[in-house]
């Protein structure tokens, strides 16, 4: 609707980035800040270019993407289903609420050792750690999503004699979809966070492993290059989610988010 801010806003946003980058470049080149800790952006970009050209980046990126998406699926789908169940049925909610309330506040990084005991130190434990981190925000959002549907809409469905099946399909599901998607978006961000955290600690491949290795070898420019890729990945997944929300939820305006 309101196109003005995005048109005039974009150059300004780029401008601020550019200014900081230029200042950084200048200060690093003149050793006002230590080029060892803060290598000039041009060097970082060159290092990123090398990582791409030498095909070093792709296996790392691939491993991270694989863990993220598997974790998202394995944690997200049950999260949505259990959340919808808890939202729709007060009995299911009463049954599971104490469990969720007890487990949800645990920082998911803290249970990584436990997950490694249960699922071993292989790929499975990494994916499960991501899945657990995705599961809870998605579950809670999906539950609240159903609870916040106007009671009026259930009354309308009742009035016309829509059975439970139709009420679920035509009222519960679409009515909760916007908040479910918001939950998935939170889940996606947790997935990225936990994937990187897990890779820092245990992995040989993945973007987290890449920056850890760069730290061990004191290749700061490669460390920054890795951070750049992770940041970009976060931006990209969020952008994709907004597109997906717009596609799945045509009755709401997501342009502004």
């Amino acid at each position: 609707m309101n196109k003005m801010p995005s048109i005039s806003g974009t150059p300004i946003k780029i401008l601020s980035l550019l200014l900081v980058g230029l200042a950084w470049e200048g200060m690093s080149r003149t050793s006002i800040i230590s080029p060892l800790f803060f290598p000039p952006p041009s060097v970082v970009l060159a290092s990123l270019y090398d990582l791409v050209i030498s095909h070093t980046l792709w296996p790392h990126l691939g491993a991270t993407l694989m863990r993220m998406s598997l974790g998202l699926l394995i944690g997200g789908i049950p999260g949505i289903l259990v959340g919808l169940g808890m939202g729709w049925s007060s009995r299911v909610r009463a049954l599971l609420d104490p469990l969720v309330a007890a487990l949800h506040p645990l920082p998911k990084v803290a249970i990584l050792p436990l997950i490694m005991i249960i699922f071993g130190i292989g790929e499975l434990s990494k994916v499960m750690a991501v899945a657990v981190a995705v599961f809870f925000p998605v579950l809670i959002n999906s539950m609240v999503a159903v609870l916040q549907i106007e009671p009026l809409f259930f009354e309308v469905a009742d009035l016309y004699g829509a059975g439970r099946g139709r009420t679920f399909k035509r009222v519960v599901l679409p009515g909760s979809l916007p908040m479910i998607m918001a939950g998935v978006r939170i889940g996606l961000n947790s997935a990225l966070l936990i994937t990187i955290a897990v890779e820092l600690v245990t992995a040989r491949q993945g973007l987290g492993a890449l920056i850890w290795l760069a730290w061990e070898l004191f290749r700061t420019e490669e460390l920054y290059a890795g951070l750049l890729v992770i940041g970009f990945l976060g931006l990209l997944t969020n952008w994709l989610m907004i597109r997906l929300q717009g596609r799945l939820i045509p009755w709401k305006d997501f342009q502004s988010i």
Binding site: L152, A157, L159, G161, L177, W251
Partner: protein, 262 residues
């Protein structure tokens, strides 16, 4: 189809206290009669409609219906004050919802809904979402949905209450037109005396909480009444009488003491 409420009461149990929404309501509505319910806010008008719609169960008393609805049809349809349309359905999907619930295939339900919306002049908006329409248009779609479902009783809960006065006037006329075509038993809740005078065969005045029937007034004037409304002495008398009945409750609500200038 006519129906009779016999000594109908409903109270809600809240943590602090019992809330008596309505108490001892006796009301008979005849087949194809248009009855307006008037009363101060919070007098249980909505509760009464929901009881008749079967969305709530009475605490005591009962509702007798003259006939049962034919198989696959609903007894009572309801138009709500606002937000009754599903925001996630397009206009045509919303209008077809009632039909679809009655085992009509969604294909033919949507065709019939589209036809009807076309008749109402809403043909350009079939695939829009409710938020893209004005409040008045949304209520027309809500009315289309309920008429398409063809219930025996039409319950309307201040359907035009949130609209501006001009829009309301036009929609009242349209509702009368639709009603004279489809001839339903209508129970229409309003707090607008003019609206009741334009629409009703009978005006039922409710008291403040708990809602009980204060008085029932027949309105026999020929419809349409809009032209006669400002001058007709009988309508003026009815208006005065209804106001007399509600004024006390309104004042009490606002904590204004009884006419001090007297």
């Amino acid at each position: 189809m006519g129906f009779h409420c016999e000594d109908l009461s409903k109270h809600y149990q809240t943590r602090e206290r019992d809330l008596h929404a309505i108490s001892g309501v006796n009301l008979s509505v005849e087949d194809e009669e248009f009855v307006c319910l008037i009363g101060p806010s919070g007098c249980g008008k909505t509760t009464l409609l929901k009881l008749i719609a079967g969305l709530l169960q009475p605490s005591s008393g009962r509702i007798c219906f003259d006939t049962d609805p034919p198989a696959g049809r609903i007894r009572a349809g309801m138009v709500f004050q606002e937000q009754g349309l599903f925001p996630w359905m397009t206009i045509v999907q919303n209008a077809a919802f009632g039909l679809e619930c009655m085992k009509t295939s969604s294909q033919s339900a949507r065709e019939r809904a589209a036809d009807f919306l076309l008749q109402l002049g809403l043909g350009d908006f079939l695939n829009e979402y409710p938020h893209q329409l004005s409040g008045g248009m949304r209520q027309r779609v809500a009315i289309a949905r309920v008429i398409l479902a063809d219930p025996q009783i039409l319950l309307m809960d201040e359907p035009f209450g949130s609209l501006d006065a001009q829009t309301r006037m036009v929609l009242i006329d349209e509702l009368l037109r639709i009603w004279s075509t489809y001839r339903k038993t209508v129970l229409y809740v309003t707090h607008d005396i003019e609206e009741a005078l334009l629409l009703a065969d009978r005006i039922v005045v409710l008291s403040g909480r708990p809602g009980t029937i204060l008085e029932t007034i027949e309105v026999t004037a020929e419809r349409p009444r809009r032209k006669a409304l400002p001058t007709d002495t009988i309508l003026a008398d009815i208006r005065a009488r209804v106001w007399e009945l509600v004024e006390g409750d309104v004042r009490q609500d606002l904590h204004i003491e009884e006419s001090r200038h007297e």
